[in-house]
């Protein structure tokens, strides 16, 4: 027991004495959640828009005013001539042009059919569709106001409502994903790198020629990263709640339980990588290419899995982070209970078990 404790202490020394390792372990997750939460966002704020309005009546003015008041839009100015439309887009000044038909208000009141055209820059289709969605919602909202006043007799307005994330804040999507990414990074990458370091510097050679059982070497190697992962989990959750204002709707302990399970999987992956490589560089590359990239690309963090080609959809099922992120969204954002995430918990448990078994089997008691 004493040998185990001293060995674990040694691992902590390695981490605490290297300033860059410390930075990477504790500051990076915080930087990541802030970057992803604020910087990299799918929300589009302050889109400049222009108006082409031959009518210039109460209704068009009302719509323009409402749009201007909205935080997503800033009025750039009016376009006087339809010929200017292309020029103004080419200059890149605006992201959206609102074109009203002639006699807009009259048409609206009398025939109930007034036309607005929304023109957006399609070179970035995601942004364009988001902007036009926002604008459509604003116009629909204005229509609703008119209806309440009773000036228009009858009107059916389709209403779109986004469940769980009514304001479409991207942080809701990002937070579970970033937690998954951070845990994968710290557990898997750092474990495999620190294990490879022992091999590379030759210390593994000396440790192996000792009565220390290999399993203890492995466990003492993993414990510090386990502890640091939990600290990071708490940090990121606190940031999510207090800074990004993403509430934890579901049970906190369930959340922690799922996270612990995921940490086990990630640690086991790190061990597996370390049994396959001899140098820190290869361990790093394998972790980044083999673990981090799939987490970003295939876990549903960035791109919806449903939109992927069939083969990639199958590949995505093998990625632990995919299951973790799904479970986290269910618990954290939707507030669902344990029964709703049984499938995810089961898949993660099996993955942890299989990975730990393989890596312990593959752990070399000799140099090769």
């Amino acid at each position: 027991m004493r040998q185990f404790l001293i060995f674990t202490q040694k691992e902590f020394f390695h981490i605490f004495r290297d300033r860059w390792t410390m930075m990477m372990l504790l500051a990076l997750p915080i930087a990541m959640i802030i970057l992803f939460g604020f910087g990299i966002t799918t929300e589009i704020k302050n889109t400049r828009f222009a108006i082409y309005d031959p009518s210039r009546d109460v209704a068009t003015q009302g719509i323009v005013n409402t749009m201007e008041k909205n935080e997503y839009f800033t009025l750039e100015g009016y376009v006087e001539n339809p010929d200017q439309i292309e020029t103004i887009f080419k200059e890149g000044k605006i992201g959206l042009l609102v074109v009203f038909s002639e006699g807009f208000y009259e048409n609206l009141v009398h025939t109930g059919d007034a036309q607005v055209q929304l023109i957006a820059d399609g070179t970035d289709p995601n942004t364009a569709s988001t902007i036009t969605n926002y604008a459509t919602n604003i116009i629909a909202g204005y229509q609703l106001e008119l209806l309440k006043i009773g000036e228009i007799p009858f009107q059916i307005t389709p209403e779109v409502k986004l469940l769980y994330n009514p304001t479409m804040k991207s942080a809701y999507n990002i937070v579970p994903g970033v937690i998954g990414m951070v845990l994968m990074l710290i557990c898997a990458m750092m474990t495999s790198v620190s294990m490879a370091k022992e091999k590379e510097l030759g210390t593994m050679e000396v440790i192996l020629v000792s009565p220390m059982p290999p399993i203890l070497i492995v466990i003492s190697k993993v414990i510090p990263y386990f502890v640091i992962s939990i600290v990071n989990l708490m940090n990121v959750l606190a940031l999510a709640v207090f800074v990004l204002e993403v509430p934890i709707v579901g049970n906190f302990f369930l959340l922690v339980f799922v996270s612990l399970l995921f940490i086990f999987v990630a640690l086991a992956l790190g061990l597996l990588i370390s049994t396959m490589v001899e140098t820190q560089l290869v361990a790093l590359l394998l972790s980044v290419v083999g673990l981090l990239m799939p987490v970003i690309m295939l876990s549903g963090l960035m791109f919806p899995i449903e939109n992927m080609p069939i083969i990639l959809q199958y590949v995505a099922q093998l990625i632990p982070a995919k299951w973790y992120i799904t479970a986290m969204r269910d618990v954290m954002i939707k507030g669902l209970g344990f029964t709703s995430i049984i499938k995810e918990v089961a898949v993660l448990s099996i993955m942890a078990l299989v990975l730990i078994t393989i890596s312990l089997k593959k752990f070399k008691i000799r140099l090769e």
Binding site: Q3, I6, H14, R17, G202, E205, L208, R366, L367
Partner: protein, 308 residues
């Protein structure tokens, strides 16, 4: 019981045969030196004996334990110091020693007497990181770590490579003290001059032992007439000597060239070789300050002779 028994040990890496069926035995309490150039198979042999590698065929045992089957018991009672510095560079001298003491389930205090002579020299720096030590001090720390659990057999793989001459001498003095405490020591080195400090040596080349004996016996069995030659143009001298018909071999050895004479050229065998004749020849070839004298063979001369 022999401390180490090796029989017909073979080991290859892909196509390279590192050990080609070597056999030897080491008695308890002796310093056995394995002496040979880089790539001779020394490290492979050490790794097999320390249970870190598996041999392709053959048998090896350490203190009565077979290296494959009883690897666990061997790991408990041997000390191993690999060829390159393999301690934790970001930990202090004291922490390193403490870790190695604890993984062998002992404490520094318990076996302090064993390492006292060595450790005292680095103790003033015990709060220093191991990576910041000088080469000689690193070796002393590594030896302390390998000794802290009172091993029965100590395996030292090129412990003096890259260490300054003064530290090398100190290191060998320490090994001698350890031997007197009853620890069997297997040490490898590429330095031939260290051979005479061992009880017995094995000269190894290309995975084979050329000879295993005491250093004295190996030297006494050297039969050639050996001369040392110097002149004012040493590199030209090497070429010129090699073209001399009476001369069998000629190698550069530090500040002189060691030459052996063909048997049939010696006066006792009816030849007409003499130092004066050779001096004359060389001065005709433009050499000045020629100095040639018979010398006693060293281990390196024996190795050269055996390795032919």
């Amino acid at each position: 019981m022999k401390a180490v028994i090796v029989q017909e040990l073979e080991r290859s890496y892909d196509k390279v045969e590192a050990l080609k069926g070597i056999s030897f035995e080491v008695d308890q309490g002796e310093i056995f030196g394995i002496i040979g150039p880089d790539g001779a198979g020394k490290t492979t042999l050490f790794r097999i004996l320390t249970t870190l590698l598996l041999a392709d065929s053959g048998f090896a045992s350490v203190d009565g334990n077979e290296v494959v089957k009883d690897y666990k018991s061997i790991r408990k009672k041997i000390g191993y110091m690999p060829g390159r510095f393999s301690l934790y560079q970001d930990l202090t001298v004291e922490e390193n020693l403490k870790i190695f003491a604890s993984i062998f389930k002992t404490t520094i205090e318990e076996n302090y007497h064993l390492i006292k002579d060595i450790y005292q020299q680095i103790e003033p720096f015990k709060k220093r990181k191991a990576g910041a030590l000088s080469g000689g001090m690193k070796q002393k720390l590594a030896l302390s770590c390998a000794l802290i659990h009172k091993p029965v057999v100590l395996f030292l793989d090129e412990p003096t490579t890259g260490v300054d001459p003064v530290s090398r001498k100190e290191f060998w003095d320490m090994l001698d003290k350890l031997k007197h405490q009853g620890i069997t020591i297997l040490v490898s080195t590429p330095y031939m001059d260290e051979a005479s400090l061992c009880n017995r040596i094995g000269l190894i080349q290309d995975g084979n032992f050329l000879k295993i004996d005491t250093p004295e016996n190996i030297i006494n069995q050297y039969e050639n007439v050996l001369l040392a030659a110097q002149s004012n143009q040493m590199s030209k001298l090497l070429k010129d000597l090699r073209t001399e018909e009476d001369i069998n071999t000629c190698f550069a050895f530090g500040d002189s060239h060691h030459i052996t004479i063909k048997k049939e050229s010696l006066a006792e065998n009816g030849g007409n070789f003499s130092i004066d004749k050779l001096t004359m020849d060389l001065s005709n070839k433009g050499h000045k300050d020629i100095h040639i004298e018979p010398i006693k063979a060293g281990i390196e001369d024996c190795f050269m002779e055996l390795a032919k």
